[in-house]
């Protein structure tokens, strides 16, 4: 796998990050060396092996669906970078 400028740009777009030219160069170098290290896993035969997804063997613990209010409006808005008395304020989403 070769990580080139295009891949970096595509990943940055997906991850909602932006990088300057110097940062891109060093990311390219790091990602290439780390991902080629990841490829060591290809040495392992995994035919007929299931992926391990859940780390617990306890299955679906269910509870009653009770409505609770744990968080007040004030608490929810406490850490907002911008807000008014009732809502989070965000930059304009649509141009018109």
């Amino acid at each position: 796998m070769d990580i080139n400028n295009e891949t970096i740009d595509r990943l940055a777009e997906l991850a909602k990050l932006e990088f300057n030219t110097t940062e891109k160069e060093s990311l390219k170098k790091d990602l290439n060396s780390i991902i080629s290290y990841f490829e060591k896993l290809n040495e392992v035969n995994t035919d007929n092996v299931e992926p391990l997804i859940f780390m617990t063997d306890e299955f679906n613990r269910l509870r009653e669906d009770v409505v609770l209010q744990n968080t007040s409006k004030q608490e929810a808005l406490l850490n907002a970078p911008a807000k008014d008395s009732d809502y989070f304020r965000v930059p304009k989403v649509l141009d018109k």
Binding site: A12, A15, E18, E23, L41, T46, T56, P81
Partner: protein
Amino acid sequence: MERYTHLQSIQSDIKSDKISLPQLVEYYLKNIEDKKHLNAFLEVFTEDAKSAAVNIQQKIKQGKAGKLAGMVIGLKDNLCYKGHKVSASSKILESFTSIYSATAVERLLAEDAIIIGRLNCDEFAMGASNENSAFGTVLNDADNTKVSGGSSGGCAVAVQADLCLAALGSDTGGSVRQPAGFCGVYGLKPTYGRISRWGLIAYASSFDIIGPLTKSVDDAQILLEVISGADEYDATSSEKPVDVYSQASVSGQKLKIAYIKETIEMDGLQPEVKVNIEKSIERLRAQGHTVEPVSFDMLDKLIPIYYTLTTAEASSNLARFAGMHYGFRSSNAHDFESTIRKSRSEGFGAEVKRRIMLGTFVLSEGYYDAYYTKAQKVRNLVKQKTDEIFSQYDFIMSPTSPTSAFKIGEKSDDPLAMYLADIFTVHANIAGCAAISIPNGVDNNNMPIGLQFMAKSFDEARLLAFVKNFRSE
């Protein structure tokens, strides 16, 4: 005041009026001030701690105090404590205040522990040296030119330098054990699911677990007893009953311990670390235990599995930091889209961004099966092979890390070299089992060396009882 290593001694000295809890808190506050240069604390909850000390001292007098009365503890800066700041050592959460407490923290408070402050760590717990904190490196108290280890570096140094009796950290790939080893304290990584993760800022959800750093096994036992157990706020927390760890005993039992041959023969193992484990093997045999080498041919696959899966999970967990509902919002952005991009790019540090990019890659279209699913399959094989060893042996031992604490700056330009510092600790997180690092002497430069024992899932009671005997016999 004496340097306490056991909660029990504090409790009996308070009972006999040799000391008072307010005096003890003053003592730790003074140490924190005197050792400010270590950069272990990001914030000290001075007034809270002082007033809690007065209240709890009274409760002790009235015979109404909880199990942890006398425990002065620090929290890694990724554990929520209602009404207090928590930042994951990141600029993106610098001004964030918790609106609820982590379940583990609630349980500490319910038993009258005093929380004295929040402790520096690698940003979002991503690192092995605490050099990735947005608020500076933590210095090892044994040698200020060396790293503390990470990511719970502030926790380990706070306990090492006697700035508090114990600390709660989190361990995703060694983040409790490796700094504990570097700083000469005990660091326990409990079984996945033993402690609720509610209120622990997520890094990699199928790996993360909270764990105590202490000066004694006894304190690890009592803390685990208090904070473990099912929690309706975390569906992955186990409903298995919590053992009375402080009462467990393996005295008189002759146990079988495996060591992985490849860990001792590894290139790059510091000679003193090798001698240290060889001597420990001899010591265990002299105590009557059976210690045998086993082969584990997947040692060199552990780091690739760990970083493939944790970066994937991190890229997903950290998607929530978008500068909208909480956290840093860039003032250089003008529309919705650029607010997200600029807030994330300016708010996250380099290592966090590197891991988000890696995780985005392994989860991206066309590469998902080849990298992410592949790593989950190899993870399954590692778990199976580890279970096989545990079907024949009680514990697996290894050094905690290949070397003692390294120099500040030594590995910071080479992420891959830094990742290899976790080579022996990631195993327990990949398999989900329990593990502990115990202080086990020093190298030629007087730097602490850690020794790790792994146990099968939910076998903490025997693991802790066993390491207590190992040290005292």
